[in-house]
Amino acid sequence: MQQLNPSEISEIIKSRIDNLNVSSEAQNEGTIVSVSDGIIRIHGLADVMYGEMIEFDGGVYGMALNLERDSVGAVVLGDYQTLAEGQKARCTGRVLEVPVGPELEGRVVDALGNPIDGKGAINAALTDPLEKVAPGVIDRQSVDQPVQIGLKAIDAMVPIGRGQRELIIGDRQIGKTAIAVDAIINQKGSGIKCIYVAIGQKASSVAAVVRKLEEHGAMEHTIVVAATASDPAAMQYLAPFAGCTMGEYYRDRGQDALIIYDDLTKQAWAYRQISLLLKRPPGREAYPGDVFYLHSRLLERAARVNPNYVEKFTNGEVKGKTGSLTALPVIETQAGDVSAFVPTNVISITDGQIFLEADMFNAGVRPAMNAGVSVSRVGGAAQTKIIKKLSGGIRTALAQYRELAAFSQFASDLDEATKAQLDHGQRVTELMKQKQYSPQSIAELGLMLYAADNGYLKTVEVNKIGDFEAAVLSYMKAEHSDLMKQINDSGSYNDDIAAGFKAALDKFVSTQTW
């Protein structure tokens, strides 16, 4: 039996009929000349704008992308099976818009903002255009507040600040999405809204991510924008812009948001497909000439804006607050080749990268971050005091360890200093390993860094480091929760805290087992 929708109440229908604007305005009309692979050529439409929505028969919409002398090239947003040569196409005078606002939180939507999670309509009060210009120079403020990812290796070595763009790059299946999902889970309670944009992924992978987020209670502050592999290329091309517009809602109102584009390689592929079908000239790797601009204009919109901008935008409603949109774009490489076209482009656009390596992943180092190549160009200024103070030794320890490890494979006799360095490096590498879905707080990270720096790991066997860490952390939770809470709240580091760490660790080492 067919069911009635809530919108099918006679009164509502009556009012909608009443409110319908039936005035006949002059419209621009054209004729479809050809339909091929989701690309429509239209004759006529002399007044069409670039990027304007075009209405076809049967309620199908398209977007004008090529304005040529005698024809218009457009992509269909949705199903193009019903379109045929000779049908009419009409200008709408509108550019593409998506709903924005808090109503979207906790929902899964497609690239046009339509819900696809079966939880009913989204009654968002506002919509915003997909393509917007990034904030200008005077609207910006430098990055000086941290986004805690919750992964020891990242928070200690490649800190990320609010408003930063940090690339996650690596081969397939080595934990790029895992980092992104952990980052979202760790934003629970931090006030940072998250947007996860899935581009060209399997629908099953998207469903798995959503399920994981729900399991960890992270869906309440998250919007998932999904353009799966079976969606038209146009939707995969537009999905990041849609997500970005949803994120800008928070940025412009003095709040903080984190957006993850997973992944931009597939978006570039979709854009390449559209461009080639539109007969734009192919360039390197058959990408069109503006593939750099495609990503640069998207990532420029992730920014930290100053209070003046926020005040002006909200007409004085929000005062003295900065807003930020932090972006974590993901790029997939082929066999570690970062010199391909799209990876080099995005590396040069972003403020640093987290480089994941297959060898490290296979050796069991997870997250498989290569600490030597991974950098954060602006995050250092945003790091909390305690992490900044304590993490200094970690990077050098790992760098020296890598050098020595390669060298010591051939050496039989090593002096004591070298041995100690190797030992330390091994233990730090082990310490940086972390299970998925178990983000750590600043205090926990600080404590473990303190332990590594001050030689508490020396007595622990390398393969027991993980157990040691778990035992210390549960001990601290039970015995010194006030100290940990104080650090988490303030993020500062002083002699009192150092003394507190020392006392707690000494006590633990002397009394506990692991």
């Binding site: 319908l20 039936v22 006949s24 419209q27 621009n28 002399a46 007044d47 005698d70």
Partner: protein, 178 residues
């Protein structure tokens, strides 16, 4: 592949400017219309596509068919077209020539499709209103289409004013759907 209209544009423009300077717009318009109609005949289409005739022969055949309709300049025009193997463009050139001519004369072809037969009075009113709105002289053609249910659709080039009941119902259906 470039579109026919793109290929035809320079020819139409050249023909128009020549005719305009010579003050023979109407004459050229008529002869191009005839030549265009001839070039659209299936037999002629076949002839023009055939590789066994030289360009000169094709032009000669066309000139002969058109007979008196072509002035000397018009024959030269066909010769130029044949040199570039563009005789197939004649219908399109004729269409574009008409558009250029209409633009020059500040005239516009308007198609009015109505559900009921319009009285002469109504047609006159519509024509006046349209020429005021479009700021052009209106050449109106009226067509009957019962499936519109009521009202009329006015089409002037790319601009369409849909005042039909069918169009309104479609709008209503869409707003109820969304």
């Amino acid at each position: 592949m470039a579109e026919l209209s793109t290929l035809a544009r320079p020819y139409a423009k050249a023909a128009f400017e020549y005719a305009d300077q010579a003050g023979q717009l109407q004459g050229w318009s008529d002869s191009l219309a005839i030549a265009g109609a001839v070039a659209e005949q299936p037999n002629v289409v076949k002839l023009l596509a055939s590789p066994t005739y030289t360009a000169k022969q094709q032009a000669a055949v066309l000139v002969e068919i058109c007979g008196d309709a072509l002035s000397a300049a018009g024959q030269n025009f066909l010769a130029v077209l044949s040199e570039h193997r563009r005789l197939q463009l004649l219908p399109e050139i004729s269409r574009q020539f008409e558009i250029l001519k209409a633009n020059r004369e500040k005239a516009v072809d308007v198609e009015v499709i109505s559900a009921q037969l319009l009285t002469d009075d109504q047609q006159q009113q519509l024509s006046d209103a349209l020429s005021a709105k479009l700021e052009r002289k209106v050449n109106m053609q009226v067509r009957l289409d019962k499936s519109l249910l009521g009202g009329a659709v006015i089409r002037a080039g790319d601009t369409v004013i849909d005042g039909s009941i069918r169009g309104r119902l479609a709008k209503l259906a869409e707003s109820l759907h969304s």
